[in-house]
């Protein structure tokens, strides 16, 4: 049997640098004493006078990249250490990064890899895939071949599940693609402060590192919260990024 083995992972060129960093760190409102003060903060990246990206450092994960709704062409220029982290969050490096001692602590996701490989042909529309280092939902998947007797190639169009940006890729159908591990968790909303959600976790702890989403959903959340409605927020996480993606009125 001559099954073709998986091809070596394709090398991805590093993303072209985009804007430059001008923002500083800010302290999200502290609550709960377990929070390591030194591990909190956020870094904002600015471009043409607008905030473009923010990196949050939170108790749940030492470093999380959170790219705001209007995504840049490429990630902003980062310090070597941060670039390393962004590359890791993009699944470009499999080894967990050792941070400075005071940032090194256990996370909930320890040991779980951010992605797993899958033969291209086994992907499916509406499923997920990593395109250009970004977790995407597959919105289009088609095959083609060069000449009638050629081998199949898969054409993928995906939409970044966090930024909504469109990515495309074409590869032989025997190729292995990375599929992001997608998780969805529901948390009760207990507060909104300075554009950040306070969410009650199952463990009883409160996390306050998640931004209020922009757009209709964000407005809906604020409005419901202001009316005193009790709501659950579904948080989607993939490749060390997270975002609120759905709300649901809590059962009475």
């Amino acid at each position: 049997m001559a099954a073709r083995g998986p091809l070596p992972p394709r090398s991805r060129p590093p993303e072209a640098p985009g804007g430059h960093m001008v923002g500083g760190s800010r302290q999200p409102p502290a609550r709960g004493e377990r929070v390591l003060a030194s591990a909190q903060g956020s870094l904002e990246f600015w471009r043409r006078g607008k905030p473009e990206a923010r990196i949050l450092i939170t108790p749940e994960s030492p470093l999380r990249a959170y790219v705001s709704a209007s995504p840049p062409r490429g990630p902003p220029e980062l310090s070597p250490q941060l670039r390393c982290e962004v590359r890791r969050s993009a699944g470009l490096e499999s080894k967990p990064l050792k941070m400075a001692d005071d940032l090194d602590f256990e996370t909930g996701d320890a040991g779980a890899s951010a992605t797993f490989p899958m033969q291209c042909s086994a992907l499916r529309k509406n499923g997920f895939v990593v395109l250009k280092g970004r977790p995407c939902k597959i919105v289009e998947m088609s095959t083609s071949k060069t000449g009638k007797h050629g081998h199949a190639k898969v054409h993928l169009v995906g939409i970044d599940i966090f930024t909504g940006k469109k990515y495309e890729d074409i590869c032989p159908s025997t190729h292995n693609m990375d599929v992001p591990n997608i998780k969805r968790n529901d948390f009760q909303l207990i507060g909104i402060q300075d554009g950040y959600l306070s969410l009650l976790q199952d463990s009883g702890e409160v996390r306050e590192d998640l931004r209020l989403p922009e757009g209709d959903l964000g407005k809906e959340i604020e409005q419901k919260y202001d009316c005193g409605e009790e709501i659950l927020i579904t948080v989607l996480s993939a490749m060390t990024e997270e975002a609120a993606v759905a709300i649901k009125a809590m059962a009475k």
Binding site: M1, A2, R124, K248
Partner: protein, 866 residues
């Protein structure tokens, strides 16, 4: 000739009916026509623009004139006509091939060729009026020219331009491009038929062409391998030779497939009588043992077997395809998969499936006489059939692991597997192969390479494995089989969901994959349902369905899993509900109701943002509507015999009717209606499914409609109005409009039955009367809808006679021209004359529909504002 004159001639060629006083005059006319036609086209060079017109004339003559008229014209004239037809077919065929090379947009010769080939099919299928062999020589010519156009030089002229230059382009082919076997199915069917008539010539021709190419392909691949071994990594392989061979083999296999067997849907395909006769005729000259040897040694060159010329030609043609298959398998073993053509791989399994359906384990009862070579090689209880089944199974297993990345090929391969097990006789032999058991075990373990297959292929594979389980086995073996195939599924599933911390780990990737694989497999199991296994499969699946509802709760925030769970229910309902007796159906209704309740609890008040705000986002709605429609379909198609198939599986228990289809469906509608919006109806699939569902409900449970809560009732009525009035203004299809019209009749009848003149439904129907009236009388509408609209109209008129008179009055009074006024008034009188007073009586209704037709023809043009 000008287009107009060609069109005129084509119409004259289809002249028939009372214009001919007797057969004699018809014969005279035809003879005169053909003579004139031949004089006109013989000896002239046909222009491109004339090809289609001329072929239409000929095709009309052959289709419209009865055979006895055709044969009554002077013999000489008739043979020149057939000669001319042969000549034109071959010449148009060559021009069509040229068009393909030049990649012309307007394929006039292809269209003309299609028409003529179709005429041949009509002509040769008649064996009453022409003596046997009458068309053989012509068939040979057309067949040869078809083959010639499809083979590469030097044997053929494929890809050669008019001045003999070869052109070859590597173009991108998208998945939307139809496979040749479908795109050219009509041509291939005609050519296959001609090949059967001239079997004496065509079968040996195909055999020698194929055998010769197999040898060349083998040699070519070997050279490539040596080249690779000598200088690994050198990528300067010229694939032109290989591609030419693949393309030749591709067409030869397609023609062979269409020649040897028919593709029937639903019925058992029979060996074509011409093929059977051909084999029987030569069976006395044939050496059976050598024939079996040719068949059983696909790895050897046919001509290397002593006495190879004294073998059955049909079996030798089959074995030529097996030789292609064997070369492919060997290349795979030699690590040359990258050089092979997936298209050829597809052709091979497509052919084998078509062949196996017809020839493998021939049922001798179906034939008057059977060829001895056939019954010896492929009959029941023969070594030959056992060998072939083993060989095909090996091919399937190899393809599934090697070609998992080629979706279409993998799909054709599992279809071959289904063919092998869907008939009990074949399945009995399949399960005796050790390979089959290995395949089952391997699939159950969800390990590579089988888990690389795409999900539709995995589902079909599961279906095949389940079908195989119903083959004849002793109890112990059967027990063991199910232990290998179905039990692991159950065990793995239960192990996962019964873990203490399942709630916490349900989002872990391995857990999600396990759940997805199980749900996919369940869909595959449901697909395997047949009347004689539904009892076992239903009980097996029911256990899962209950657990699936629990999963709905756990994965409530994971839409892709929720959708897959609903899909399992959709499949089970789709495949099984028609076989279920009362109590089993009720179990399913209950499960569906619970599913809907859980869905509703988890989704009311949920808002999600989805990066893909497209149709897919509403997949869950679509699936639920499909589920409800499937549940309702039992009212139309029901094969159940009060749990007959379940007898012996369970002590008969009196069914306490706790849940009915109506309950589930109405609950579902309560759930769906508030979620549907005008925006959502812009998605065609959602729109069609929605209207299909509400029409079904109106037809099946009209009595439940008035009981709906007020706002739901209103939105239902509004939906109907929208469906009727949007067409053709928006993208809603005429199908939707038709569905809405169909829904009105039962609603109006329901009103008539209830005799309440103030109910909301009664008032609504009055409004619909006006809508349908306007639609029929005043608007331009699709004539296809006249019947549905007419039926609805009549029922509504019965219900609201006064309002109808009023509508007519208003319309008449608005007419200023007294002539038109009178014509309209007469027409309206005539319309209702046969049904006064209108009653809901079938006879009257039919009379009304007939009058309506006349009415439309009479005054439709007067009123319809264009």
């Amino acid at each position: 000739m000008a287009q107009d004159s060609l069109q005129c001639l084509a119409q004259l060629a289809s002249l028939h009916g009372p214009i001919f006083p007797d057969e004699g005059s018809q014969v005279d006319y035809l003879a005169h026509f053909i003579e004139g036609l031949l004089n006109t086209i013989n000896g002239i060079e046909i222009e491109d623009s004339e090809a289609v017109g001329i072929s239409s004339i000929i095709s009309n003559l052959i289709t419209v004139f009865p055979r006895n008229v055709l044969t009554a014209i002077p013999n000489e004239l008739f043979s020149s006509f057939v000669n001319c037809l042969t000549h034109l077919t071959c010449s148009f065929g060559r021009s069509a091939a040229l068009e393909e090379v030049l990649d012309k947009d307007d394929m006039v010769y292809m269209e003309a060729y299609d028409k003529l080939l179709e005429s041949w099919l009509t002509l040769v299928q008649d064996d009453k009026h022409f003596h046997k062999g009458f068309f053989t020589q012509h068939a040979v010519q057309v067949f040869n020219s078809y083959i010639q156009c499809h083979l590469a030089a030097p044997d053929g002229t494929r890809n050669l331009t008019a001045n003999g230059v070869a052109s070859r382009e590597e173009e991108e082919i998208s998945e939307l491009q139809e496979d040749d076997r479908d795109q050219f199915s009509d041509q291939l069917a005609s050519v296959g038929m001609l090949g059967r008539i001239a079997a004496e010539h065509c079968i040996p021709l195909l055999t020698s062409l194929l055998e010769e190419r197999v040898t060349r392909l083998h040699g070519q691949l070997q050279r490539h391998q040596q080249q690779l071994l000598a200088s690994p990594g050198s990528s300067t392989i010229d694939n032109k030779m290989l591609d030419d061979l693949y393309e030749d083999i591709h067409w030869l296999i397609l023609v062979t497939g269409y020649l040897l067997a028919d593709d029937t849907q639903g019925e058992t395909p029979l060996i074509p009588p011409e093929i059977m006769e051909y084999s029987i005729k030569h069976s006395s000259e044939v050496d059976i043992n050598t024939t079996l040897q040719i068949l059983g040694s696909p790895g050897e060159k046919a001509s290397s077997i002593p006495g190879y010329n004294r073998t059955d030609s049909v079996i030798r043609l089959l074995s030529a395809v097996l030789r292609v298959s064997e070369v492919e398998s060997r290349a795979i073993r030699a690590d040359l998969t990258h050089l092979l053509s997936p298209q050829m791989g597809k052709d091979i399994v497509w052919f084998l499936k078509r062949w196996a359906k017809t020839y493998l384990l021939v049922d001798e009862k179906l034939y008057d006489q059977i060829s001895l070579p056939f019954s010896t090689a492929f009959g029941a209880d023969t070594e030959g059939s056992q060998w072939i089944i083993g060989y095909l199974l090996q091919k399937v297993i190899s393809n599934l692991s090697v070609w998992s990345s080629e979706q279409d090929l993998a799909n054709d391969t599992v279809q071959l597997l289904v063919t092998l097990v869907e008939r009990r006789e074949r399945a009995n032999l399949v399960i005796q192969c050790e390979n089959w058991w290995n395949l089952a075990k391997q699939f159950a373990s969800r390990s590579p390479p089988l888990n690389f297959l795409s999900s539709p292929v995995q589902r079909t594979l599961m279906k095949a494995l389940v079908l195989g389980g119903f083959a004849h086995m002793d109890t112990e073996t059967k027990q063991q089989y199910w232990t290998e195939v179905l039990q692991p599924l159950q065990q793995r599933f239960l192990r996962v969901i019964n873990q203490e911390n399942f709630q916490q780990m349900c989002q872990q990737e391995e857990v999600k994959q396990e759940i997805t694989a199980t749900l996919e497999a369940l869909c595959g199991i449901a697909e395997a349902t047949q009347i004689d296994n539904v009892a076992i499969l239903f009980n097996f699946l029911m256990d899962f369905l209950t657990n699936c509802i629990g999963l709905m709760e756990v994965y409530k925030n994971t839409p892709e899993t929720v959708n897959l769970i609903i899909e399992v229910f959709v499949e089970v309902a789709h495949k099984q509900i028609c076989y279920l007796g009362e109590s089993k159906a009720m179990n399913l209704y209950e499960a569906c109701l619970t599913l809907l309740q859980v869905y509703s609890k988890n989704n009311l008040g949920r808002q999600r943002i989805d990066v893909t705000a497209e149709e897919e986002q509403y997949q869950d709605l679509l699936l639920i509507m499909e589920l409800l429609t499937n549940l309702l379909s039992k009212e139309f198609i029901d094969f159940s015999d009060t749990d007959e198939v379940f007898r012996g599986h369970e002590p008969g228990q009196a069914a306490n009717r706790s849940v009915s289809a109506a309950d589930v469906v109405l609950y579902g509608v309560n759930l769906i209606l508030p979620l549907m919006s005008q925006d959502l109806l812009k998605f065609p699939t959602l729109c069609n499914q929605y209207y299909k569902l509400i029409t079904f409900i109106c037809e099946i449970f009209p009595e439940k409609i008035p009981q709906l809560p007020e706002d739901l009732f209103k939105s239902l009525m509004y939906s109907l109005e929208l469906g009727m009035t949007s067409y053709p203004l928006t993208e809603m299809s005429s199908e939707v409009c038709q569905l809405c019209l169909e829904a009105l009749t039962p609603l109006a009848e329901q009103c008539a039955k209830a005799q309440e003149t103030d109910s909301p439904l009664f008032l609504a129907t009055r409004h619909f009367l006006k809508l349908v009236f306007d639609m029929l009388v005043l608007q331009k509408h699709n004539t296809e809808m006249t019947t549905a609209a007419g039926e609805a109209f009549y029922t509504l008129v019965c219900l609201h006679q006064a309002e109808y008179s009023e509508l007519v009055e208003t319309l008449l009074s608005s007419q200023q021209d007294p002539v038109i006024y009178q014509r309209l008034a007469d027409a309206f009188n005539k319309l209702t004359a046969s049904s006064t007073p209108p009653t809901l009586d079938r006879k009257q209704k039919m009379a009304f529909l007939k009058s309506l037709e006349e009415f439309m023809a009479n005054v439709g043009g007067l009123l319809c504002v264009k």
